[in-house]
């Protein structure tokens, strides 16, 4: 198993966190981590964990199979609509991510969410499982517990 991209979240980890960057000049946090600060133009940004819990800031459901570069391995026949949202983390930064929930009646702006790292696709050549990051409603975990 490997993350879809190194450096997006802490891995391997029991409780993965998103990795962003913080500008040492103005303190602004962004995701994914980047070398330069888009807010102040500072050149000194440090990579740091930016959290695994937040609240849903906005959302939608992707109801048609996207064209490439979408690369989930799904076909028109196997495609399942997926939720997409921005989740506001403690610093105030809002991270866009797929949601584990795709039922609109279960999604409400302001609801607590938590990060989940889970299989996204299997590499057809190597057979390796590629991991993506998702946000899940916090209550799902309580139900499971």
């Amino acid at each position: 198993m490997r993350p879809i991209r190194e450096g997006l979240f802490t891995w391997p980890a029991e409780r993965p966190e998103l990795l962003g960057s913080r500008c040492t000049d103005c303190g602004e946090v962004t995701f994914p981590a980047q070398a330069d600060c888009r807010r102040c133009g500072g050149r000194d940004c440090r990579v740091e964990p930016i959290g695994h819990r937040g609240t849903l800031w906005s959302w939608t459901v992707q109801r048609f199979l996207p064209k490439p570069p979408y690369a989930s391995g799904e076909t028109e026949e196997t495609f399942r609509p997926y939720g997409v949202g921005y989740v506001e983390l403690p610093s105030g930064v809002k991270v866009e991510a797929r949601l584990t929930e795709n039922r609109p009646e279960r999604l409400v702006i302001g609801m607590p969410m938590r990060l989940v790292v889970a299989p996204f696709r299997t590499d057809p050549e190597s057979g390796e499982v590629i991991l993506g990051f998702y946000f899940a409603p916090e209550e799902d975990e309580e139900e499971a517990a």
Partner: protein
């Protein structure tokens, strides 16, 4: 700024034209604009133009004639037409030229756009995970906006209903069949809360304008229209934009707000003086948001304005009288100049069945799109 006049307008019908390339549709729009102005291509001193998917505008000389004019290709996302118009106005206002053409055209493959992440400064994972769709952005922007400002799904339906009703009055529109409220409200969800008939589709078409200095304009027409402002602005840090893996802690105004405010200041005209309005309606929600972002109403006031019919052709602030992007589709390169074309028809009193009553004097156009930029023009008689 010296005065810049629009003395000719031309449009190639929007929609699908399988037997013509995008460039042929662009050239046709130029021919129609030249004929409208009573000017020959040989007289044209410069041109600016562009497309997203239909090739270089400069190649139009293969159809129009290789006269040696200065021709500059413009590619600036959804503000391609606005940027071409801005550049054309600057070329005349500087005194260097007195007669020029701006043109936009396009021909997109069917279905949603599929941009490449690297072209937009993004990494592949963002596209691979299925996060890089403009439809998702527009859905999440209106979803948040509805939450903050009390806009309902009813308002989304009303905007689409108006677009197709106006499109039916426009012989150049792509979609010319009115749709009932039920047909719109029950059409399939594409990206919640937006449904099939609340989204525009990528399409084909061409639009062109002939621009002239004031002195030159008087040689060709007794009724020029004047470009009072042509402004393009890009996103500032913190605005909620398409293709954003994250948004800043503090959300700030969109580029639309900056472009509209600057245009009104430059023209010395206020939003209340505008008689006919064209707004980017990539989806129903975008038109609603842009009404307020451009300064025509307060955030949240749209619900009441739509219910009252204020944005209808006979209302007090008519919006997208030609059916907008919803009824015309969106050939990215041509869309902004199609808006200007419609405003010119309205100000000349030549808009036929969809003519705004009362002799409109001032018109406004607005585009917004990827990667977070906006173009606004103010035009008056």
């Amino acid at each position: 700024m010296s005065e810049v006049a629009i003395i000719g307008i031309g449009l190639h019908p929007f929609g699908r034209t399988p037997d013509k390339s995008g460039q042929q549709q662009g050239a046709e729009a130029v021919r129609r604009a030249l004929a409208d102005a009573g000017v020959s291509w040989k007289e044209v001193q410069f041109a600016y133009g562009g497309s997203q998917d239909a090739g270089n505008a400069d190649a139009l000389v293969n159809e129009l004639g290789l006269t040696g004019l200065q021709f500059t290709n413009v590619w600036n996302g959804c503000a391609t037409g606005g940027s071409a118009l801005h550049a054309g106005c600057a070329a005349i206002a500087s005194g260097e030229y007195e007669l020029g053409v701006v043109v936009g055209f396009d021909k997109h493959p069917r279905g949603a756009f599929n941009p490449r992440p690297a072209d937009w400064g993004l990494e592949d994972w963002y596209g691979e995970l299925g996060l890089m769709l403009t439809t998702q952005f527009f859905a999440m922007k209106i979803q948040r906006y509805m939450h903050e400002h009390g806009i309902t799904e009813e308002a989304l339906v009303r905007v689409a209903e108006k677009a197709f009703r106006n499109g039916a009055l426009n012989p150049y529109a792509w979609r010319r069949t009115p749709l009932s409220r039920e047909e719109i409200a029950q059409s399939p969800l594409v990206s919640d809360p937006l449904r099939k008939y609340m989204f525009c589709n990528p399409a084909e078409g061409g639009a062109a304008l002939v621009l002239a200095s004031a002195a030159r304009a008087r040689r060709h027409t007794t009724k020029p229209l004047w470009v009072r402002a042509a402004v393009v602005r890009t996103r500032r840090y913190g605005s909620f934009e398409v293709f954003s893996p994250s948004l800043a802690a503090t959300v700030t105004d969109a580029p639309t707000v900056d472009a509209a405010r600057t245009a009104f200041e430059r023209a010395g005209i206020g939003p209340e003086e505008v008689d006919v309005i064209q707004l980017q309606d990539t989806d129903s929600g975008a038109e609603i948001i842009h009404m307020a972002e451009c300064g025509f109403c307060a955030h949240g006031e749209q619900e009441k304005l739509l219910a009252e019919g204020a944005t209808e052709i006979g209302g007090r602030m008519p919006v997208n009288t030609d059916g907008g992007c919803l009824a015309n589709g969106e050939p990215v390169g041509a869309s902004g100049l199609r808006q200007v074309h419609e405003i010119c028809l309205q100000l000349r009193g030549q808009a036929g069945a969809r003519q705004v009553p009362g002799g409109p004097r001032v018109g406004f156009t607005h585009v917004y799109g990827a990667p977070g930029l906006s173009g606004v023009t103010l035009i008056s008689r």
